[in-house]
């Protein structure tokens, strides 16, 4: 029966979203997730649902899968109504939720069997289908392994295989590439494109990575529950034609250069890229900056998104005035020294013998996929987790013996932001000040400082749980700086926030580094690695390479790849590492 339904709408669109609105009730507050969104999705192509966190991507996916019902509007899925015919819809689509929907205590084969049973795949076709899927996912040697013991990339591919077990006409993938390494991301894209090419599957894929938008045939751009734009990446990008420039100067530090470019009239966006700065202009006039080389470069999808957002919110944020009791940078002094650091959990080494040192005023990045050992390294550096072996000195203190002394001199901000959601902005600042012993006049001064520097005064009485992600991130950074730490640890600080908030955040970090604060940051945004002075790329508890962003990109240069990106370099390193491990 399903076949005939699919056949009947062969010419229609795969997905027809018609003036959809959806509001969630959070406590007593109504939070709009989608507001009057309409678009059509072509059949047989990959459509990217692109936007930062809280854009409404997941809600839209769930509405299309019949897991939620909209307040108003309708969604047609392959000619079926998602709200009233949800069982039929679910019989024709494949869906991979954010955490892949795998049973971790079941083996690869058992997960496949379960989804084959649930999707009504007949026993006769299973052996051939399984073989095909396992070969495609590269999981054939691991069918007996428990899903919980697979790496992030393998889980992602198994999740995909489960969603594909009964060849669906429409495949919905909800942020399939979050937290997996760049190599696995590429492999996933290869699989998706093979499906589209060989089987004519229509794919709707949501992502917060703007560089992935360029890989889609069509892009639907969402922001804060509203549709910003729809079109092919090339179409959208071309509106930016002639407005992107790469600016370099031999004698100016990259951060100083970025600041200078950012304050040039007509500049919408200025981004550090290796040793140069990439600028996006209001129109096709090149930036008027003295004494630099300036070359036109092709536009990127992100330029388009940033320009749209800037039009909505106004100009660049001014964060140059971050001065507050600055220390003189002393680049010869190592403030973090790590030697042969190891951390074992049971018989598993989460961190396996890493060594590096970080100088004062340096921005040092740790890159790696989920499970690479970044967070474990961080916890040891902050004195939250004792190392199994190796030496570890932070701000001159040996963390094995004087963790408390070192902790007074470090600030920490985690991915989750660690704010007290039911306290107001001012109360959060007050609390974090008081736990570092700031009280009386000194405490009041620091709160004043934070409210001014981070532009939080207008929202000082707001409950912090109600703030947008960008504001939460700003408040979390302010809290971690209340006691004027010498070293700042940032654990995936920008994950999920929109590109504007991310740029603003990095402007603040750069200003801090200029004052001599040492910054250590983990990220899985390749582009963010470019902001760092030096980065270390980690996989399976080891450091694969360590150096400046430019030198690491250089390593991956080859005749086929004359201008490798950071992601190219990362993929090469992981590939080489896996070959070594296999040998």
């Amino acid at each position: 029966m399903a076949e005939s339904v699919v056949g009947a709408v062969a010419d229609g669109s795969a997905l027809e979203v018609n003036r959809i609105s959806k509001t969630f009730l959070v406590g007593k507050r109504e939070v709009p997730a989608l507001q009057d969104v309409s678009f059509r999705m072509r059949r047989g192509v990959v459509t990217g649902l692109v936007g930062p966190d809280a854009a409404g991507k997941t809600t839209l996916m769930r509405l299309a899968a019949g897991l939620l019902v909209a307040d108003s509007g309708s969604i047609g899925v392959l000619g079926l109504d998602a709200a009233t015919q949800s069982l039929q819809v679910q019989g024709t689509i494949g869906y991979m939720p954010q955490r892949f929907g795998l049973y971790e205590d079941l083996s690869v084969q058992e997960n496949l069997d379960l989804y084959a049973d649930l999707q009504g795949v007949s026993e006769a076709v299973r052996p051939a289908r399984y073989a095909e899927l396992m070969q495609m996912a590269g999981l054939a040697p691991f069918t007996r392994r428990l899903a919980g013991r697979l790496s992030g990339g393998m889980k992602q591919k198994l999740g995909l295989a489960c969603a594909l077990v009964r060849q669906p006409s429409l495949l919905l993938l909800d942020e399939p590439t979050v937290g997996v390494d760049p190599l696995s991301r590429r492999e996933l894209w290869d699989i998706v494109y093979r499906l589209v090419r060989e089987q004519g599957t229509s794919v709707l894929l949501s992502t917060a990575y703007l560089d992935e938008a360029e890989r889609c045939d069509d892009v639907v751009l969402l922001h804060e529950g509203r549709l910003l734009a729809q079109g092919t990446p090339a179409e959208l990008r071309e509106t930016m034609h002639g407005r992107s420039y790469e600016i370099s100067a031999a004698d100016i530090d990259k951060r100083a250069l970025q600041l200078r470019v950012a304050h040039t009239p007509g500049v919408l966006d200025a981004l550090i890229l290796g040793n140069s700065v990439r600028a996006v202009m209001q129109d096709e006039t090149p930036p008027a900056v003295e004494g630099v080389r300036c070359a036109a470069v092709p536009p990127r999808f992100e330029d388009y998104f940033i320009t749209l957002l800037r039009q909505k919110t106004g100009g660049m944020p001014d964060v140059t005035a971050m001065a507050a009791g600055s220390r003189q940078p002393d680049s010869d002094k190592a403030v973090i020294e790590v030697q042969e650091l190891k951390r074992r959990f049971g018989d598993f080494y989460a961190v396996n013998g890493i060594s590096f040192s970080v100088q004062q005023g340096e921005v040092f990045g740790l890159l790696g996929a989920n499970g690479a050992g970044k967070s474990t390294t961080f916890r040891m550096l902050c004195g939250l987790l004792p190392p199994s072996s190796g030496t570890l000195r932070v701000a001159g203190a040996d963390l094995r013996h004087a963790a408390a002394a070192a902790r007074e001199r470090i600030g920490y901000m985690s991915q989750k932001f660690s704010l007290y959601g039911n306290l107001s902005v001012a109360e959060n600042l007050n609390f974090f000040g008081s736990i570092y012993g700031l009280s009386g006049r000194r405490g009041a001064q620091r709160i004043e400082w934070a409210l001014n520097e981070f532009e939080l005064r207008d929202i000082a009485d707001f409950t912090s749980g109600d703030l947008s992600l960008g504001y939460k991130q700003r408040l979390a950074l302010a809290c971690s700086l209340m006691h004027e730490p010498e070293i700042l640890f940032l654990d995936e600080p920008t994950s999920g926030v929109d590109p504007l908030a991310r740029r603003e955040f990095w402007a603040r970090i750069n200003a801090l580094a200029a004052q001599g604060v040492t910054v250590m940051v983990t990220t899985h945004f390749m582009e963010e690695a470019e902001y760092c002075d030096r980065i270390a790329i980690m996989a399976a508890g080891e450091i694969l390479t360590l150096g400046t962003p430019s030198s690491i990109k250089q390593q991956a240069r080859s005749p086929q790849l004359p201008q490798p990106t950071m992601e190219d370099a990362f993929v090469e390193l992981i590939r080489a590492h896996e070959q070594r491990a296999a040998a």
Partner: protein, 372 residues
Amino acid sequence: MSSRMRLRGLVRKEFLQIVRDPSSIAIAFLMPLFLLLLFGYGVSLDSKHLPLGIVVEQPSADTADFTAAFRHSTYFIPHDYATTRAAEQAMMAGRINAILVLRQDFAQRLRDNDGAPIQLIVNGVDANTARIVSGYVQGSWGIWLQHYAQQRGQEFQVPVDMQQRVWFNSELRSRNYLVPGLVAVIMTLIGALLTALVMAREWERGTMEALLVTPLSMREVIVGKLLPYFILGMGGLALSVAMALYLFEVPLRGSLWVLFAASALFLVAALGMGLLISTVARSQFVAGQLAIIATFLPAFILSGFIFDIGSMPPVVQFVTHLIAARYYVAILQTVFLAGNDWSVIVPNALALVAMAVVFLGLTWKKSRKRLE
């Protein structure tokens, strides 16, 4: 056809998870083992070996004769004190539960037939124990007086001669009614707590979303969870019954079949409660709290398993009618200790059927194939 395939897939998945996840096995088999051992051996409501202070102000042959009755009893451990004051201090400190005082003139007044008085001071904090002690002392006193009179060839008048017979639990072992009642608590745990937890686990790990987006109907989801945990629960029951019969030697006077049939009914009701909880609780923490407050504690306190329902205030008595475990405890205690008494079994079984229908019906009504 494909519905059967889906159901088979779900049930097989559930069993694989049960086998691999030690926590389900622990709740179904280790928890009964632990609770039965604790209640079978550790908790006893029988008053034995009570520490009793004895103060004899002027020892004589008569006083020695009287106190000997206590010294050789299994119910008391006698402690001697020279003065009432010392004994009172010991009672304050909690070392003894009662004080028996024989006055200076005990022997004198006894011989004068002046109704020699004994004084008994009982710690009334634990009312149950206090009553047992005073009853026992009164009894002993009466018997001793009778003997005393007979020895002297005197006629001792007993107004009423009471012949006691204890039915159903003639040895008066509290274990004999605690262990059957405990089976009800265990079945509540397996039925409600385990199901609520495993459903919440699916929500927490994001697998429920993946299940719901398949062509699975809600009926299949419910049956797919009921079936495996029903089987697991009956396994837990078999273990508990075997321990009751062979380890604790509780008599089974009714038939095993009635026992298992009533248990199956109760288990369905308990699973229904667990599923109903899971329609509101999406995290294991909340599910666990709710299951303990809404099912486990009532089964423990209000089912008549330890505390007699008849002596509860009328309002609380009324509330106990809403507790499924109450009906099950009644059936269990009857089948174990009295036999197949249909006048007790049938009405209680009907009540269980009604509760199972209500819980599953509510679950059915409340669960939609949506994420909200």
